[in-house]
């Protein structure tokens, strides 16, 4: 009884230290790709899932780097916060902080394409009824992270509206990920901008479904699940 009483409080919870001593990087939110000083292309990602994962990783004892596109969420107290706008900025922020990172979770909805040219002044509406906007492919942030040596344990998201699991499996293999979290963003009440989510967690040899629940509870479950899969800490340089 004495031993139990002098145990630090967090030790009473089996999961409170599952990421102690680990460096975790999480991307969250959308990116914004500027057309000119006032217009941009973006997407409906609210950042809620990524922020919930950052909070859960903090509570699991990790040093958490949150690389976030523009969202309307409170930054969790204790994270190292790296705000960015575009995919190129997000890539730069990730690579700059990636050294000795044990776990990378790419929860951001990164724009696949950006305008080829960003106008310095606001584009004026012309007489033309039609306009062509030329786009160029953005860097693939998570594939670049997964290609580093040494690489962190790399977890991606697949947010799709159809053929979800097949596409997620293909993305897992193609990008060299260790795990992917498949998220049907067409289902009502879950996914983008919802407070709840239901996902399927996929590795090379497993598929685990998590039913609809609050993003904060789901995040804790996912972080514990991921923490249990992490390779043992290596000696860091």
């Amino acid at each position: 009884a004495l031993v139990a009483a002098i145990r630090p409080p967090e030790q009473n919870c089996a999961t409170a230290s599952s990421l102690r001593g680990r460096k975790v990087m999480i991307t969250a939110g959308p990116t914004r790709e500027a057309l000119d000083p006032v217009r941009y292309i973006s997407n409906h990602s609210s950042g809620k899932m990524g922020y919930a994962l950052a909070q859960a990783a903090l509570e699991a004892g990790a040093e958490v780097h949150l690389v976030s596109g523009p969202v309307h969420l409170q930054t969790p107290a204790g994270v190292v916060y790296h705000p960015v706008e575009s995919a190129e900025e997000m890539l730069a922020a990730c690579l700059a902080q990636l050294k000795a990172c044990d776990l990378f979770i790419g929860a951001a909805a990164v724009a696949d394409y950006r305008p080829v040219a960003v106008a310095e002044q606001k584009l004026k509406k012309g007489a033309e009824e039609l306009m062509e906007l030329r786009l160029t492919k953005n860097p693939d942030i998570i594939a670049q992270v997964a290609a580093q040596t040494p690489k962190p344990f790399t977890v991606g998201f697949a947010a799709e509206t159809q053929n979800l699991l097949a596409y997620a499996r293909s993305k897992l293999a193609r990008k060299g990920l260790d795990m992917i979290i498949a998220n049907d963003v067409s289902a009502p009440g879950i996914g983008f901008n919802s407070d709840e989510n239901a996902v399927t967690l996929i590795t090379a040899d497993s598929e685990t479904h998590f039913a609809t629940q609050s993003k904060s509870i789901l995040a804790k479950t996912l972080i514990e699940y991921i923490a249990a899969q992490l390779p043992s800490p290596s000696i860091k340089s």
Copy 2:
């Protein structure tokens, strides 16, 4: 002294009833033009100026219809709220409520163009390094409002990064507006997403500059200025 004492409180303020009995419609925020179920084109409008104008018009005694694109602001208590996403939805909401409207203020940053086709499913990133996005011109909401018979007193905004006053004067004439509020969105600390603004109010025969101040105070000043220019109420059908 007795007369002053029994006066209703709002009568002690010279401006509290300047829009009593008037129907005012205000558009605010950006529009979002969908590319597919998750992606869109939008702009940096926060909606703050339009919402401040709605609040000021309410305080001036008006019935206020607020037609708003997606923003992260509290809807002022007492407005009739019409949330929309796209320019086409905004136009439909405006025209549906325009009957017997005395004053229309177009403070929304309406997207000039929208994608020609909206994909029903999330577009997949292909192998292509470049992509062409075909855009088509959106309806001109304020020009359509100003072309109604009878038309409300119609106030537009010109948010520009260069040649501000010249462009604002041209827009005033071209769109048949009664007044235009010119806003230099390239100046630091004012305009999009700022809490302060400085504007120049332009009519066919006047130009009035309002120095940098909070959007809520500026909104009250503008509403009083506009209220003083409104034609006398007509008998409504």
